[in-house]
Structure formats: structure tokens, C-alpha cells
């Protein structure tokens, strides 16, 4: 089975890309893929607690994240630089491992495919 990395780099509610990519990641895991997710750039805002998507008529991203372990998606990573630059404190559950740029390079190099590319 292939190693798939889903990269989430948009703000959680500017469009529906994050929700759609998380759905794809869950399906990847259902199909026995070895799934990892990397949050970087504005994508790290997805990891903030107390989100209420219902107030703007959208799916709550943090709720989707908490469902990931049910799909056996447990390899969750975040770009340490992106978190620091935005002065965020991430206390999200499920647990997310912060990675340096060098570690992200290694994570990407290990994959068969990367989904959610940015220009």
C-alpha cells in the first residue's frame, strides 16, 4: 500500500479545501493507505481549539480532526515555523507533532504521493 501525505495549507474556513482534503485522507485510510497529514502555512489555524463552524454554516474542522483516530489516521504533523510565526498555542487533540523544515523535507521524501499541493 502507498504512503500518502495530505498537506493542509489553507485557512480552515476560507474555502472547503481543508474539509475536502480531510475527507480524502479518511478515505485513503479506509483503503489501507499509510496516511499522514501535514498542517502548514495558514493550515495550522485548523488546529486551534473551540471552533464553531456551524456559526457560519460550515463543517467544524476541529470536529473532523477529532474523528481521524477512528479512521486510524494517527500520523499528524504541523510545521513548527508556521505555528511560531502566527504566535499560536496548539493544544489540539488528537496529538500533532511539530516538525522543523528539515524534518518536513524528510517526511515528504518518504512518501509515495503528496496530495494537496500549492502553487
Amino acid at each position: 500500500m502507498k504512503k500518502m501525505l495530505f498537506v493542509i495549507s489553507n485557512t480552515p474556513y476560507a474555502n472547503t479545501h481543508n474539509a475536502e482534503l480531510l475527507e480524502a485522507a479518511m478515505v485513503g485510510a479506509v483503503f489501507d493507505g499509510i496516511v499522514s497529514i501535514l498542517f502548514r502555512d495558514d493550515g495550522v489555524y485548523s488546529l486551534l481549539p473551540d471552533q464553531h463552524g456551524e456559526l457560519i454554516g460550515q463543517k467544524t474542522i476541529s470536529k473532523m480532526l477529532s474523528a481521524l483516530p477512528t479512521y486510524e489516521v494517527e500520523r499528524l504533523f504541523a510545521c513548527a515555523d508556521s505555528i511560531t510565526k502566527r504566535a499560536l498555542t496548539i493544544t489540539s487533540s488528537p496529538e500533532v507533532v511539530a516538525l522543523s523544515l528539515a524534518e518536513q523535507t524528510r517526511l515528504i521524501a518518504e512518501q509515495d504521493v503528496v496530495i494537496g499541493a500549492q502553487l
Binding site: T16, E23, F31, V113
Partner: protein
């Protein structure tokens, strides 16, 4: 080699489709195989049958359909498609809409078809919005 391509951008919003089509045509010219082109996010709008091409502009829809006629599967994410109004005749009936809007040679498929195409091919290449 066998390829899966993914198109993430809407027509006129990015060059996702132009770049994807150019690669697809080059791959076929060199006798590679494209298992499936998967239209995801706003890329689902590429499959809208109701698009009218302004004079002097490239007819991207016909170019996708030509690929479809050459055996390339044009797969539109069903969840992403129907919520954006890209619906097949079957979905039109299911949701009791006035008209369908999915162009010929495209099919609505689940996300599982993206994952299985990735699993079955040598390369996955994505064209972001």
C-alpha cells in the same frame, strides 16, 4: 508508465486545466497511460456541460472530452461535484433538480476512486488551483 492526474482549479480561475491538459496530451503522445483524471475541489467545474466558450478562446471542455474519447477516465468527485451543482442525470432525478449539468464523457465517482487510481498507477500528478 501509468499516471493519475488531478485537477483542482476552476475554469478561468487558474491554469490548472491548461497545464493538466498539456501534460495529458504529452503523456499520451509518448505512449504512457493515464488511468484517470480526477477533478477535485473547484476543479469539478471543468465538467460543467453548460459552459459557453467565448469566441477566440480555447475550448477546454472539448479537449477534456477528446481525452475521454481516447479512453481516459474523466472522474469528478461526487461529493464536491453535486454540492457545486455539477450533477449527472441520475443525481438530477435523485435530488429532483430541473436539469443535469455533467458534460458527456465525465462520470461522478467517490473519493475511493481517487485513492484506488493512486494505488494502481506509478505517478500521481496534481494541478493546484
Amino acid at each position: 508508465m501509468k499516471y493519475t492526474l488531478a485537477i483542482h482549479g476552476a475554469p478561468y480561475a487558474s491554469q490548472s486545466a491548461q497545464h493538466g491538459l498539456a501534460l495529458a496530451q504529452a503523456l499520451l503522445a509518448q505512449e504512457h497511460t493515464i488511468e484517470r483524471v480526477f477533478f477535485f475541489h473547484e476543479g469539478v467545474y471543468q465538467a460543467l456541460s453548460t459552459r459557453v466558450v467565448p469566441q477566440g478562446e480555447e475550448d477546454l471542455l472539448s479537449k477534456w472530452q477528446e481525452l475521454g474519447q481516447h479512453g481516459v477516465e474523466l472522474a469528478v468527485c461526487i461529493a464536491g461535484g453535486i454540492k457545486r451543482g455539477v450533477i449527472s442525470e441520475e443525481e438530477r432525478q435523485r435530488y429532483e433538480k430541473q436539469s443535469s449539468s455533467l458534460a458527456e464523457h465525465f462520470t461522478l465517482v467517490g473519493l475511493g476512486q481517487l485513492i484506488s487510481a493512486i494505488n494502481e498507477t506509478d505517478r500521481y500528478i496534481e494541478f493546484p488551483a
